[in-house]
Symmetry: C2
Subunit: 741 residues, 2 copies
């Protein structure tokens, strides 16, 4: 090999950071055999705080701004970043970290709760940059590549999760609007040159209200669409009547979290239609009390607490009356009496629909029993894919995890592409009139006649991300030798614009021998499912919302969870970022380690991300050894899953460190067993032998350390020596790994 | 125009022949304006008898063999044949015709019921050629082109038939075997050169029984497949259990008429599984009585009549007991208590499934009420298209005849292609063993391990018809500017062979600008339906069975009936045959004419066939006037339908002759109104004027003739002068038509 390559491993917070102390030495030792350096970048909350105030720290305590370096790296072709979960800090967390750092002798200022002076304001501004989701927006400079790793897929095939049987006579279905929704009103244009646009409302009186001003790039796709309030409410009423007639249970599936302006309004209409009698009877009172149906029926329960007991009882009685003539509603918690309409964030479509489909197409009724269900999803654009899958399951039975193929996803998301939920471009109409999108020179790009209550929204998609997305699709199709389908609906305005670009950009690539097609959503999911039940894989190449939905839908069928998916962000500049797992940085796990020296954190996400990072390094730099390292790491992970060597939950059993030992053992064994590279074989054979022979000793040393409290010298910035000692308690194992270098 | 062209109109029997006396003079007069001669060929039963014995007739009574001439014409590129329904003579009909002809002075021999002498045997042989379906096999030298004529389609859009609403919560579905059926065992080969093959059964003892010997042509496709008896019976039991659990009604849909060996056996298994308790209890008795479940439960009722009353009652009691633990079964006639399993020919899949789908997916229960139904169709090959349509209707609602597009069909059928029902190559296995297809040199082409009771069958498809079918598909796609989909399933052995040929033969044609694709059945019907509900047409290019099924399924959705379809047989030699209507030659209509001079026959089929015959003449000979005649005839037919000028049913109302008058009026008006051809416009303007002005007079003359008995001088060979006089009673109308020449 001519040049050494580099993998950048992020040092983050809490449990993943602790696990890094154990795992990283192993990774470094293995990677070195392929000439790969594994460097770290500390993007922990503590490091980010210190970097923000490095001008105030002495030379000995100075901390580099690793996040800034990482962000710069993300826009360089050499980036190969393993991104572990980090703290998205709330104010209490930030304050805790500040206190700990101050105690460690770092001269950083207190958090100014209510900044007054310019100095305080400047401090507050620095801290603000550290708060919340401060890492992902900086690093996600690419589109999304999500797939089930081979090892996880193999595990699911051998140890399938339960799947509820489907009856051909099932009455369950997904129902959606046939007109009057975003789908049917969507208009879309592509900017031929850069320009400023205004989103305006023109009232019946001709008065113009500018809602938003934007700068659009050349080649940017811009869409506008609206949902009719009247038609939405009529649709809800129709679905309720239909359920009443057919006896099928009613349920609502929206995504009020992501579509955080539009979907709470949609949800609110569902509440005020279902409980129409109550909202009509108490309309004035509810207004006075500040009841907001967009917050669910719980808003009624909350607000009426201010009323006298007798009046509360009357309202509660009327709410109960509603149930006597409305159809049965799916329950979130039948024991506690929490319905589908209680809280807008309880039922999130991308999780709730796969769960329903896995559960024989049924949800739970108020008696706690499973029942056939009408899944109401007003917006038809994406709802149809669920109806397609329901029909498919009725016809072909439930998916079989032991034989089914896979549907990986290549999703358009870079530079906030297709952020339909974008609340800054979503408006609830206050009056009848016209919504229009106008160029600076007054040219009207498109417009919609709207009525009071309608929900209007716009969506942006820049050109460069689309071009990159096409490239990513071709690359994935080539690398995995798998057919790829672009999900673009010729009946959708936005998709017609995208289709033109896709057809253009596909010509920039060698697609010979590849099976790349463009289909509408129904056909795309149907073809993918027909292949799925025949054990075949199909890449779904989709927009941002479908990316979100499909990377739950298919993984939940295939793997029983979407948490075990590989989540790769091939950066537009040419580098790669490999995100590990979901579910945050697990503060409870830290507590358990401190109290009983047991770390429950599962590094599966890191194993998977590392394998693909190595594979990618191999491909990009022509490093055959790196490819073999990646392949054998996948084998090792598979064996680890098979042999149930993932961390358990209790002292005395294998924990995070023990699972790392087995990973090293299996990885070394796989390298010693392979015959593609004699050098690697020879290099790892002794380690495989040692670890194998000393398995009992090492496990005894690892597990023997458990059971007593430990001190690692800090929470947000633990002492490296202390932490390393705690996280590497087996002298035998450490010696074997160190001997590799 | 350089050459005069020719249309050959068949003179047949009974009502269509009577109608010809009225219609033909009109047709001749109109066709002459485009330089087209309309000649007739008499293929009536009487003419065919006389032609068979022309050597015995005097020179004055000699009759030419028009059918032989027509058959010769069918293999010539010049053929343009309008084929009306004719008598497929039974022996009583034949004897009636002989008697009539003898009375008319024709010296023909009596029908020898029991021929003994060589002379008698020779006579009998001549008569045998006249018996039964003697015309179609001689003439159908081509594939099938069926479509809804523009006029009929327009009528259906304006006057839609009723369509039952579909509920998204419908439990109806089509259920079929998942393995063990013909689909899953199908093997197929293409002969690289001509050769003789044997179909053999090899017993477990090694004994070989030759079941059939065949000569196969080079390029011929030959398939073998079997249905497992055990799996079929297990499947029936499973469907019954499923219905019992879900409360969905059970129904069976086979085609015992066409698949006349295999499907009665399948039907028989359904009977003996449903009534398992009865057949187990009385097995021996039923054998002795000769009960055959393949003939339905009616066979039990018939045969037990031989038993004492008390024993009959016991059996009937046990049959009724069955209903207490079996699911409810769909009824053919709930009033008479005739179930789905009573008689094998009562429920024929290609008619029963469209009826069910038009009827909200429901069939009738024993209480006479509509209910959701499991439609059981064991063989999965074609059953899946019905499930696909059911899922589609659940999702999108019932089809809307006022807006839906059309699915015309190009069907492979020439030279008995894909005659799956062919009883001479279908065998019910008597024992376990091997069925194999062997070349003369002993090479085994393919084989199946079978068990006693399994149904094995073979299917032939010659190469030339396939090539012609591809050509026909391209021609239709070009002429109608409509996308065409070849329905070929890559998972089916036979279809894989055909697909290769289709891909090869498509290259023989200029397909530039055409949208021709190949899809599996599910995808093909789905794409066709998605287009259908958007008002778009799609040509289905299918094998023989799908031709049969689809030309009922789509027409019944689109038009409410399949009787109004155009049925064209483009002859392989280049000519065309245009079949008119279905439903036989209507002897009852003749009786009504004789008794009250009222002919109820509807010549719609002739109008439609003639229009396309004229259009085809126009295209083939570059005769623009012929094209205009065809187009205006379609317009006239549309107007006739719109204005309700089809024959009524009772004396005093418009009959066949009156509808011909209105056709002539509207046709002349359309020609006078068009501006494409000034000559035609000028030629027909006077006629349009005359007929329009004299409408009241003509209708009075036509309807005034009704109400008294008439004599036409014969039934099988009526007197031409007498018949013509009866069928053309309006002097005013006759004069107007005659004036055209």
């Amino acid at each position: 090999m001519s040049t050494r390559s580099k993998i950048t491993y992020t040092f983050t917070d809490e449990a993943p950071a602790l696990a890094t102390y154990s795992l990283l030495p192993i990774v470094k030792a293995f990677a070195a055999s392929a000439g790969i350096d594994v460097e770290t970048r500390d993007i922990s909350l503590a490091a980010r705080i210190l970097a923000s105030f490095s001008d105030r720290l002495g030379a000995d305590k100075k901390v580099e701004d690793d996040l800034a370096q990482l962000a710069a790296l993300a826009t360089s072709p050499d980036a190969n970043i393993i991104k572990l979960p980090n703290i998205s800090a709330s104010v209490p967390q930030l304050k805790g970290a500040i206190a700990e750092l101050q105690a460690l002798g770092y001269d950083i200022p207190a958090f100014p709760e209510d900044p007054q002076t310019d100095a305080e304001k400047e401090i507050r501004a620095r801290y603000s940059k550290v708060l919340g989701s401060a890492v992902n927006p900086v690093l996600r400079e690419g589109n999304s590549d999500r797939r089930a790793p081979a090892a996880v897929k193999a595990y699911a095939r051998k140890h399938p999760h339960s799947m509820g049987k489907w009856s051909m006579a099932s009455q369950s279905h997904a129902d959606y609007m046939r007109g009057g929704d975003f789908f049917s009103s969507e208009k879309s244009i592509t900017m031929d040159k850069a320009g400023d646009v205004r989103i305006e409302f023109v009232g019946k009186d001709g008065k113009v209200e500018v809602k938003k001003q934007l700068h659009l790039e050349a080649g940017e796709v811009f869409d506008g669409m609206f949902m009719s309030c009247k038609k939405l409410r009529a649709f809800f009423e129709k679905t309720l009547q239909d359920c009443k007639e057919t006896g099928v249970m009613w349920s609502l599936h929206v995504k009020a979290t992501m579509m955080k302006v539009s979907h709470p309004i949609v949800f609110g209409h569902a509440v005020s239609v279902y409980y129409k009698d109550v909202f009509e009877k108490y309309g004035k009172l509810f207004d006075e009390l500040g009841v907001n149906p967009n917050n669910g029926l719980s808003s009624v329960y909350d607000k009426i607490k201010a009323l006298p007991a007798s009046q509360q009882e009357e309202i509660l009685h009327d709410i109960h009356e509603v149930y006597s003539h409305r159809p049965e509603m799916a329950m979130v918690d039948s024991v506690k009496g929490i319905t589908n309409l209680h809280i807008p964030s309880d039922v999130i479509v991308d999780a709730s629909m796969p769960a329903m489909i896995r559960n024989s197409g049924q949800m739970w009724g108020k008696d706690g029993k499973q029942k056939d269900t009408k899944a109401v999803m007003p917006e038809s654009t994406y709802a149809r894919i669920y109806q397609e899958m329901i029909n498919f399951c009725k016809t072909n039975g439930a998916f079989d995890p032991t034989t089914m193929g896979s549907v990986p996803n290549v999703g358009l998301m870079a530079q906030k592409a297709e952020e339909y939920g974008s609340h800054d471009k979503t408006f609830e109409m206050k009056a009848d009139g016209t919504m229009r999108v106008v160029l600076a020179d007054g040219t009207v790009l498109f417009q919609h006649e709207v009525e009071a209550g309608d929900i209007w929204r716009a969506c942006q998609t820049k050109d460069a991300p689309i071009r990159d997305w096409v490239k990513l699709a071709v690359t994935r199709a080539r690398q995995s030798n798998t057919p790829a389908i672009f999900w673009l609906d010729p009946e959708r305005a936005h998709d017609r614009e995208l289709r033109q670009k896709v057809e253009t950009y596909l010509k920039e690539h060698d697609t010979s021998g590849l099976d790349i097609s463009i289909m509408d959503y129904n056909q795309a999911i149907r073809v993918s499912m027909e292949r799925l039940i025949r054990g075949k894989d199909t890449i779904s190449v989709t927009g941002n919302v479908l990316r979100d939905y499909l990377t739950d839908l298919f993984p939940i069928m295939e793997l029983g969870t979407s948490a075990k998916m590989l989540s790769i962000v091939p950066l537009m500049a040419g580098g790669g970022m490999y995100e590990t797992g979901a579910g945050g940085s697990a503060p409870k796990h830290v507590q358990q380690l401190l109290e009983e020296n047991y770390l429950r954190w599962d590094s599966l996400g890191e194993f998977l991300a590392l394998a693909v990072s190595l594979e990618d390094t191999g491909i990009k730099t022509g490093n055959a050894k790196a490819k073999i390292l990646g392949k054998t790491l996948d084998e090792a992970t598979g064996k680890l899953l098979d042999n149930n060597k993932s961390p358990a939950r209790k002292v005395g059993e294998l924990d995070n460190r023990g699972s790392h030992f087995y990973l090293a053992l299996y990885w070394a064994q796989a390298l010693a067993a392979q015959d593609e590279d004699a050098e690697l074989k020879a290099h790892f054979a002794p380690l495989a032998k040692t670890l194998s022979e000393k398995e009992a000793t090492i496990v005894a040393e690892l597990n023997g350390a458990q059971g007593k409290s430990v001190d690692i010298g800090g929470y947000y910035r633990s002492n490296p020596e202390l932490t390393s000692k705690v996280m590497r308690p087996s002298a035998t194992f450490n010696a074997a790994i160190d001997a590799l270098s």
